[in-house]
């Protein structure tokens, strides 16, 4: 069985993502977060399990739905919230918003909302590490939709060709916006199979089981670090809320309430809480204390964000070019 420290860290990481995302959903209708937000509630196990498998010096990059990746990699929460509020204290000085998180200290190099575009960039950071002989791993996060983009395939080829230290993490949540798999990818073939065909080592797992994810991600990171080349991980999971924004949208017709409920039963956080308690690894009170601490941390971050100043007018014209 996994050691207790790791287990609590996994719980904590998941609960932190959940706490942050739920609070954003609460506050969004105030209209002070004036940028698109893509919440990852429901996918916390995939994000905590992979993020915790990395060292701080490792690199991570992500796409439009990056809050969980940023947090699990150790990104600064205050900087993230201030960024979403468009403030000068934001992790990108207010220039980026929710879709452009960055925290260099934490090795979170950036996220962008053009689907698939950070995949080759991440291959480039892994290439850099290899060129310099560092034992640093890059992990890049994307969804099932991104695997339809040409750059994904080109990137697999290049990473395999040069045996780069990169872990590709695909969270397959069955949808690309409102489009189900069936209208985008042929039946009966797996995404992981494509990566394997490129000669990339491949793993698939239950993206709602944090321990399972952590175990396979740790192996993948380890292999990549030891120079065995890239690894591709596909994790099945589900986004609970609408593609973009704070609401639920099962009623609009692109997926069924029943499907949603089925996944809701597999709530990665609730399941893990129950498991830790059942195993005697933690008491309900201990976990509640963690949750309370995280809620307080989030309130702090929100207060920080709200009370921070907006960027000054002249900042708009700064950093167009590097000096």
């Amino acid at each position: 069985m996994m050691d207790a420290t790791t287990r609590k860290a996994l719980y904590r990481a998941m609960s932190r993502i959940r706490t942050v995302e739920e609070r954003i959903a609460d506050l969004y209708p105030e209209q002070e977060m004036r940028c698109p937000v893509h919440l990852c509630i429901g996918q916390e196990a995939a994000e905590a399990g992979t993020g915790l498998a990395l060292d701080r010096r490792d690199y991570a990059l992500s796409g439009h739905r990056s809050h969980g990746h940023y947090l699990a990699k150790g990104g600064d929460l205050k900087g993230m919230m201030a960024e979403i509020y468009g403030k000068a204290t934001g992790c990108a000085g207010g220039k980026g918003g929710s879709m452009h998180l960055v925290d260099l200290d934490a090795g979170f190099l950036g996220a962008v909302p053009i689907v698939g575009s950070t995949i080759p960039i991440a291959v480039g950071t892994a290439f850099s590490s290899k060129m310099k002989g560092e034992d640093r791993v890059t992990m890049v996060f994307f969804g099932d939709g991104a695997t339809e983009a040409g750059v994904f395939h080109e990137s697999l080829n290049f990473a395999a060709l040069h045996a780069l230290p990169i872990v590709f993490v695909c969270e397959n949540n069955l949808y690309s916006v409102y489009s189900p798999m069936g209208v985008r990818q042929p039946d009966g073939r797996s995404i992981a199979g494509i990566a394997a065909a490129h000669g990339v080592a491949t793993q698939t797992g239950d993206g709602n089981d944090a321990e399972a994810v952590f175990t396979l991600a740790s192996k993948a990171v380890d292999a990549a670090r030891r120079g065995q080349g890239p690894v591709f991980i596909e994790l099945s999971t589900y986004r609970w809320r609408e593609h973009c924004g704070p609401n639920f949208d099962n009623h609009i017709g692109y997926r069924t309430e029943a499907e949603y409920e089925e996944w809701r039963q597999r709530d990665p956080l609730a399941l893990y809480r129950a498991r830790l308690i059942a195993d005697g690894a933690a008491t309900g009170a201990e976990l509640a204390a963690i949750d309370a601490e995280l809620a307080a941390e989030m309130e702090d971050a929100v207060t920080f964000a709200k009370s921070s100043p907006f960027p000054p007018r002249e900042s708009a014209g700064q950093h167009i070019y590097a000096e």
């Binding site: 220039k95 339809e148 983009a149 924004g245 609009i252 960027p311």
Partner: protein
């Protein structure tokens, strides 16, 4: 002709009528048949015409463009939609090298009757990668046609004309126009590609706008009336072919030019209009033409930076006043009341 419908409804009606009239017309693109229906503009079409003519797509912009071209070469009339122009540049190769050139390079043997709709926009923290205006990239390519409707009337008329045209037509639609209503005839009609529209007649200055900035230009003309200045407002509607005659005739009348665009200035659409004025209406110009564009940097996301980033009617009016040697009041630059500048109106509450 008193029925008013919104821009997105006019697009939908145009699509519907084209699909009804011609079985070779089909629409495709990410999310085209989804509950959002491209901000309403394709809503209901899948129910009416079925999933084989109203197609969702895998996330593969370059290939979907190639597919559209291939189908256009062999008798279909695809209408491909990108929810943001920022995604469409993944298909630059197919558009610039292929769609624009198959007719020419095979000496007329092939035709590419293709419409590619691309949505441009701004606001609500779309930021640097979701609110570009890249019309000049397409307008510079011979073989493409490029249109940018401003009104609901033109949206429908240009879309129908584009679908019926035997060439690849890029149609750039500003998201902030989607909710604006206009008189739109119920029957199908065409607005010719390559014809600008004089939105307002005037004698003292020519304001050339396009897309959303044509509306700001109209407001600028209203402001200028208060100064006793009569502005002629031209809505370009087409960038390629460019309606030089209409612009030049207006310049010969007014002798003054202000051009405005939803994009940055340098190497943009405004450059071409100013070059045209200098080249072909030099003798008529009474003052240096000026332009009102975005500042020359990417779009910052913070709402606090939107006010300075997006020029408005007041900025256009100020440019006119300066040309006439008058100092504009500071009040011209005040943001409008009742909404933040990252929203088209206060009813718009994100996320997009």
């Amino acid at each position: 002709m008193t029925r008013q419908i919104k821009f997105f409804e006019a697009l939908r009606e145009g699509l519907d009528q084209c699909m009804g009239a011609d079985a070779s017309v089909y629409v495709m693109g990410l999310g085209v048949p989804d509950p959002g229906g491209i901000f309403g503009s394709t809503k209901g079409l899948v129910e009416k015409y079925g999933a084989s003519r109203v197609l969702d797509m895998p996330l593969a912009e370059n290939t979907m463009t190639g597919v559209a071209i291939g189908s256009a070469l062999t008798g279909l009339r695809p209408v491909l939609t990108h929810q943001r122009v920022d995604f469409a540049i993944l298909s630059m190769e197919q558009l610039v090298n292929q769609a624009a050139k198959w007719h020419y390079m095979f000496d007329g043997r092939m035709r590419v009757p293709l419409v590619v709709r691309m949505i441009i926009g701004r606001g609500w923290g779309q930021g640097p990668q979701h609110s570009q205006s890249l019309q000049a990239m397409f307008a510079q390519v011979p073989g493409l046609k490029v249109v940018m409707p401003t009104t609901a009337y033109d949206a429908k008329g240009l879309l129908i004309a584009a679908i019926e045209d035997d060439n690849p037509v890029v149609m750039l639609e500003h998201r902030w126009l989607y909710g604006i209503a206009d008189d739109v005839p119920e029957e199908a009609y065409r607005v010719p590609l390559g014809k600008a529209k004089i939105m307002r007649e005037g004698g003292d200055v020519t304001i050339v706008g396009l897309s959303y900035m044509s509306l700001e230009s109209l407001r600028a003309a209203d402001i200028l009336k208060g100064y006793g200045i009569s502005a002629e407002v031209i809505d370009l509607r087409s960038l390629r072919p460019l309606d030089e005659a209409t612009i030049l005739a207006s310049l010969r009348k007014t002798g003054r030019l202000v051009v405005t665009d939803t994009a940055h200035g340098p190497f943009g659409a405004t450059s071409e209009i100013m070059a045209l004025a200098a080249e072909k209406a030099f003798g008529a110009l009474k003052a240096a033409p000026s332009r009102v564009c975005l500042p020359d940097h990417p779009a910052p996301t913070s709402p606090a930076l939107a006010d300075d980033f997006y020029p408005r009617a007041g900025h256009i009016a100020a440019a006119v006043l300066r040309q006439l040697g008058r100092e504009p009041d500071a009040a011209l630059f005040a943001p409008p009341a009742g909404r933040r500048l990252d929203q088209p109106d206060s009813s718009f509450q994100g996320p997009f």
